[in-house]
């Protein structure tokens, strides 16, 4: 590995290579960060297009546009692509760009592995998407792929699905290893753990979660593969297995996975709120502890996704109480953000607008989460649109708003150009309004009794499904505006200073905008 670092020293003054090879062979954290972000945005548009198909079908009762089997393929791929293709790679991209610059390191610790972990991703999604053209169609069993629907009853493409999940998992694990090794070993002198920026903290904890649970996902799909092709019966009742075991293994991965998609968002929001309030973050150490306790609790609440599988009373009570407990550290974070804004000197640039919307809408998602934790009530909410509304509130105006906030916040640093503030705000308001028009009515539809993963529905749900679809299309279109804004900023615009934002603090703001191809080749001193 020492050879890698030497070769870096060697081309230090040359800057990036020219043309396509720059991107294919790059080991530079900034290039790889950029690749991850563009990849993620591409997947966001593909997954979004699938969401549009779903919403178009649900615009009115009756089957109009697609057949039920294709509808099931769309909802499965939409979930998989948005989770593994859009949200997670976006956070890895941000980590690549920001972690070295925030801790004062010249690059990620394992640059060649970094290249590999990115470039296997497009391959994984190529395999997954190509299953659409296979006999029997793409996976159609939901992103949670419960056995035996995903084993004995699956279309033949399930093997390719398993293969692609393995690759995605390998990519995430390598990404996580890279982040941890970088943070643990390459911090600038003087930067103790408790002086690290919160984004770095949130990613460190996320990376540990990834390392703990992505191998479990790999194990789950491996067991599926063996059940399908090698005659084992992990999940097959006839051979002494148990389909419910699959759900336990899956959610043992799945619940921490949920926090993998939200912890980095907490980090981003903390930076942005503090910057635009021109006030240090309130309760830094309690923020770190809250992050850590949320991560630890995430390992003991998995069965709250399975309240209806028929667990004994004691288990239901345990998982209900443990789940409710998560509200405490989550509450602490929200209170800290509000306290940061209190008596600040606030301005409302686009990143701040997205961050505030994040806090409000994520909290609404948190409230519905708390309601879902109440087991007897969950018997009514479970697998209805109430759940769909809940997790879209924490993922769309939660995770995705935070990613957009991060892009607006750091893009002047990355490109050296300011984005168009007017267009940024327009994008925010369009997104904010449409996201609520889309997902808020889904709470009502769900409470009124519409189950999720239905291609068609009873007449009493018609009105609000129509509203929801209208909102979804507006939201989808607004993201084209986002693409336009980003492209415009990359191509030019008002030059950004190195400080960029008046209240911003941290090592990345001491670098030029845009930063040199190699930064912090000699570590900065942190007091």
């Amino acid at each position: 590995m020492s050879a890698v670092i030497e070769s870096h020293e060697h081309d230090h003054h040359h800057g990036p290579a020219k043309g396509l090879t720059r991107w294919i062979f790059t080991t530079n954290h900034k290039d790889i960060g950029t690749l991850y972000l563009w990849f993620s945005f591409t997947m966001f548009l593909i997954g979004g297009a699938m969401a549009m198909i779903i919403r178009a079908e649900l615009f009115q009762p009756g089957m109009q546009i697609v057949q039920p089997e294709f509808y099931n393929q769309m909802l499965t791929l939409h979930g998989l692509i948005m989770i593994f293709g859009a949200v997670m790679p976006a956070f890895v991209g941000l980590a690549n760009w920001l972690v070295p610059m925030m801790v004062g390191a010249p690059d990620m610790a394992l640059p060649r592995m970094n290249n590999l972990s990115f470039w296997i991703l497009p391959f994984a999604f190529f395999v997954l998407l190509s299953s659409l053209f296979m006999e029997g169609g793409a996976p159609n069993f939901g992103w949670t792929f419960y056995a035996p629907l995903s084993t004995t009853y699956a279309p033949p493409s399930v093997t390719f699905f398993i293969f692609s999940v393995h690759i995605m998992g390998a990519s995430s694990i390598m990404g996580a290893i890279n982040v941890i090794v970088t943070i643990m070993n390459m911090r600038a002198p003087g930067m103790t753990l408790m002086k690290m920026p919160l984004f770095v903290w949130s990613w460190l904890i996320t990376a540990y979660l990834l390392i703990a649970v992505m191998p479990v996902l790999a194990g789950a799909v491996t067991m599926m593969l063996m059940d399908i092709h090698f005659g084992t019966s992990f999940f097959n009742a006839a051979g002494g297995g148990d389909p419910v075991l699959f759900q336990h293994v899956f959610w043992f991965f799945g619940h921490p996975e949920v926090y993998i998609m939200i912890l980095p968002a907490f980090g981003i929001t903390s930076h942005i709120i503090s910057t635009f309030s021109r006030k240090p973050l309130f309760g830094y150490s309690s923020m770190v502890w809250a992050l850590a306790s949320i991560a630890i609790l995430s390992f003991v609440v998995w069965a709250h996704h399975m309240f209806t599988v028929g667990m004994p009373l004691a288990a239901e009570l345990f998982f209900m109480w443990a789940t409710m407990l998560i509200a405490v550290p989550t509450g602490v974070k929200v209170f800290n953000w509000v306290a940061t804004m209190f008596k600040g000197s606030i301005t409302y640039e686009t990143p701040m607008l997205f961050a505030i919307a994040f806090v409000v809408l994520f909290t609404i998602g948190g409230f519905s989460g708390l309601m879902l934790a109440i087991t007897p009530a969950d018997f009514q909410y479970h697998d209805t649109y109430f759940v769909v509304a809940h997790f879209h509130y924490v993922l769309v105006p939660g995770a995705i708003f935070s990613i957009m906030a991060a892009v607006y916040y750091w893009i002047p640093k990355w490109t050296g150009n300011m984005y168009d503030e007017r267009l940024g705000r327009l994008h925010f308001w369009l997104s904010f309004i449409s996201v609520n028009v889309t997902f808020f009515p889904q709470h009502w539809i769900g409470l009124a009794g519409m189950p999720r993963r239905y291609p068609d529905y009873a007449l009493q749900f018609a009105d609000w499904n129509m509203v929801s679809t209208a909102g979804a299309f507006l939201f989808g279109l607004s993201q084209i505006l986002f693409l336009f804004i980003v492209l415009k900023t990359v191509r030019g615009g008002k030059k950004a200073t190195s400080q960029v934002w008046e209240g911003a603090e941290g090592l990345e703001w001491t670098l030029d905008s845009p930063p040199a191809y190699h930064t912090f080749t000699t570590p900065p001193k942190v007091s």
Partner: protein, 382 residues
């Protein structure tokens, strides 16, 4: 400038959304209170947690919106620099914790009550199939399937949709009011989930395993529900309808059902005319086959084969029977051997051999119920 922008936007979105809001049904926005003591308790719990969340939301967002309003750069150019307060932080760790305990107590009590699974007066085994429900009355030996009865043409927008679109079945499960009814829930193939909102029962149906749920319904009536675990293509098309009736109506229904079962056995022995078979076959076809093979018998090219003009339907009667009885390996065609009666299978085959002009083209053979019975006795699993 900023403000005019916002106003323009709101007007735009308002114009866009208003026509839809105009005729929205504002009544169907909340959870049902349901028809049982338990479901009412669950509803109360839901509302309690909801209002607690609303109050917390008002307090937190209140402080937040006040800060956003009062501490802008214009109004407060010099930010304060405080960034910690142990007292505050302890306070907002402890208070939420107490609120959670307050929520957990009633939740725990309701849950315990739901789990108080004593002996039932009526025990019904519920089996989820792709894509229908089977009900077996353990005490009375009644056994039937309950299928979606909504017309395919309603689903594909060819005729107007009825009031209970997608929430209607051919045979509802019948229970007596005021009695403890216990459901023993399992599945035949993949995982399903049996949900009747009015009873606050949602219980997964898992192949090989049995789950229980119980209810005591106060008022006679029709209660509708759905399958809530993704179970394949027709997950959205296997509703549940429970008909709660007075005890003596229930007893009558049980007697009728038993009589009907007896008559069915007689039917298979009777001599059937071609017309009788075709007309019964058409009903069976529309209910069980038209979803895939289409009302026109044309199927969907590349996915579901056409029956009109099919070589098997025209000239290969043995294979025709075999497909109905065994299904087709690796295709969506399942076996109907256990799901349709001998009469229904014979009539639906006869129907397909007569309909869509097939009757003029093929070997003109028909199938009578006895042949299916013989197949079952001799030739099964060839």
């Amino acid at each position: 400038m900023k403000l005019t922008y916002l106003i323009k936007l709101l007007v735009f979105v308002g114009l866009y959304a208003l026509p839809v809001l105009g005729y929205a049904d504002w009544n169907a926005l909340n959870m049902t209170e349901g028809a049982t003591e338990v479901s009412k308790k669950v509803f109360d719990l839901h509302m309690l947690i909801f209002w607690i969340c609303v109050v917390i939301g008002i307090v937190v967002f209140g402080v937040m919106f006040y800060s956003m309003y009062a501490f802008t750069k214009k109004k407060n150019p010099n930010p304060s620099s405080f960034h910690e307060s142990t007292k505050l932080e302890i306070l907002w760790t402890v208070i939420p914790f107490i609120i959670l305990v307050v929520m957990a107590i009633p939740a725990t009590n309701v849950l315990k009550e739901i789990y108080n699974d004593e002996e039932g007066d009526v025990n019904i085994q519920v089996v989820g199939y792709q894509w229908k429900w089977q009900y077996k009355y353990l005490e009375d030996g009644i056994n039937f399937f309950s299928n979606l009865s909504t017309d395919q043409d309603e689903i594909y927008n060819k005729i107007p949709k009825g009031e209970h679109y997608l929430l209607e079945v051919d045979q509802p499960v019948v229970i007596p009011v005021g009695k403890k009814v216990r459901f023993l829930i399992t599945a035949n193939d993949v995982i399903h989930s049996w949900w009747v909102p009015d009873f606050a029962i949602k219980q997964d149906a898992i192949p090989g395993f049995i789950n229980t749920a119980w209810t005591i319904v106060e008022e006679p009536g029709l209660y509708r529900g759905n399958c809530t675990e993704l179970c394949g293509k027709n997950h959205g098309f296997m509703p549940i309808v429970v008909r709660a009736v007075e005890q003596n109506d229930f007893d009558n229904w049980v007697a009728e059902k038993k009589q009907a079962a007896f008559e069915l056995a007689q039917l298979t022995e009777k001599d059937w005319s071609v017309e009788e078979l075709v007309s019964n076959g058409e009903t069976v076809f529309l209910k069980n086959c038209a979803a895939c093979h289409q009302v026109s018998g044309q199927g969907i090219p590349g996915i579901f084969p056409a029956l009109a003009g099919s070589e098997i339907v025209l000239n290969n009667k043995p294979r025709n029977i075999e497909i109905l009885m065994e299904g087709v390996q690796g295709a969506a065609m399942q076996s109907f051997a256990n799901q349709l009666s001998e009469v229904d299978i014979a009539s639906v085959i006869t129907y397909t051999r007569k309909a869509w002009g097939n009757g003029e083209k093929g070997d003109k053979e028909i199938v009578i119920p006895k042949e299916i019975l013989e197949y079952k006795n001799n030739n099964k699993r060839s």
